[in-house]
């Protein structure tokens, strides 16, 4: 079913009243954003496929509980983010043999998107660095800086205060820049440095 231009909420209503094509239209309309969110979060096409499928299966199961308090896209993003977290958690529980590295590092995550040969070197570097940023910072950057969602919507998606989003955003950006190899100017000795702390909401 092509994108008819109907509002998401109307498609949801039609789906709940038995219109199968309405669900297909929702999937078609949003699969790109869900897939790319998952790709940036997981760094691997295979994982992004799995997370996308998991997210839409959750949508299928839980759409009847969607009450419309938030926009459908906000709800969908929340489902997609949770699918990514679940997948990353499962991967961290994989046998050590498959992890190949230091247990404490999020580097248990695999090399990023090697199958996109046409991507620029820069974007591959960014993606690789992104995976070195803690997940809670990473997701905020992906939603705000990559997906262009406003901070209050990111807060709604993640269920955290806007102030937490601002804080994670700033810390995440610093972590990303450092992971990309930007030299630590001054190697801060200031113990009250705003971005040296551990991540807390």
């Amino acid at each position: 079913m092509p994108d008819t231009g109907a509002r998401d909420e109307d498609l949801v209503r039609r789906f709940l009243s038995g219109d199968r094509a309405a669900f297909a239209a929702l999937v078609e309309r949003h699969e790109r954003r869900v897939y790319n969110l998952a790709l940036r979060m997981t760094g691997r096409e295979e994982d992004a496929r799995d997370a996308t499928q998991d997210a839409f299966l959750t949508v299928l199961r839980k759409l009847s509980s969607f009450r419309g308090e938030a926009a459908f896209t906000t709800w969908l993003h929340r489902v997609a983010v949770n699918a990514c977290y679940d997948l990353l958690r499962k991967r961290q529980r994989q046998p050590l043999l498959e992890r190949g590295g230091d247990e404490d590092r999020p580097a248990a995550e695999p090399p990023p998107v090697p199958d996109h040969a046409d991507a620029s070197d820069l974007s591959i570097d960014v993606q690789r660095a992104l995976l070195e940023v803690p997940q809670d910072f990473r997701v905020v950057m992906i939603l705000h800086d990559v997906r262009d969602l406003p901070q209050d919507e990111v807060a709604q998606i993640l269920g955290v205060p806007v102030g937490t989003v601002k804080s994670r955003l700033h810390r995440g950006r610093i972590a990303l820049a450092r992971a990309m190899g930007v030299p630590r100017s001054g190697e801060r000795a200031d113990p009250a440095s705003p971005s040296e702390g551990t991540m807390t909401p």
């Binding site: 299966l57 299928l60 100017s185």
Partner: protein, 258 residues
Amino acid sequence: MTHPEELLADYVDGTLDDEQRAVVDAHLPGCETCRDEIELARGAVAALASLEDEPVPFGVTGPVLAEAGRRFERRRVLVWERLQWAAGLAAAAALVLVVALNIGNGSDREDAASLGSSTAADGQVEAPEGGAAETALAFAFQGLEVQDDVNYVADGISSLATDAAEVISGRAPAETGGDQRYTPADEALACIEQSGAPTVDDPRDTLMRLIEAEYEGTPAYIAVYAESPGAGQPADTVVVWAVAKSGCQILTTASLRV
């Protein structure tokens, strides 16, 4: 030193109001830490802007749509059973009415009985789906294509969809091969319909090809549909379903916009 950390992200984004920006501007000359971090953050924002969307690989949401199809089919069956139950109840009520009338005056037996059966029948009638006119297509389904020793995998399913899209768009002829022989498809059609795939009566979906082969080593029927948005509009999507010959469960499904 206290840093205005809660303002720095918005400072980098340029979304602070004048008063807040003045706070940061006043802080920066004396704070190398914050100056450096703003510089780093700006670099990160620019780097993230270089990440472009990747296209969604073919077939990613196919299993989801297949599951949606199964759920709809289950729900349809459930509704059907409820309607039958309601219809039975209506028939029983009508029978009681007939008996009561007969006890009363012994007349109008046939009329009352026919009223009862009519009520029951009405309860079982399914509402027509959409009512859209069937799209006239030049690539009508001709029969079951038996492809011995052919084992489809994801790429093969993708090729079937691509080929069908070429036909729908008129960029390729409808023939699937001059020496193609077709065999009766009743059993395969029944299996496809049992799986929850569109039926041959579905006004939106036109069956283009039905293939008997293997899918990832499992004997399967593979159905290729041209899907229209309805209301007589031309098909704009190819949908491929692979269904196990044994048990008729869906093995995969994929769609491709024309």
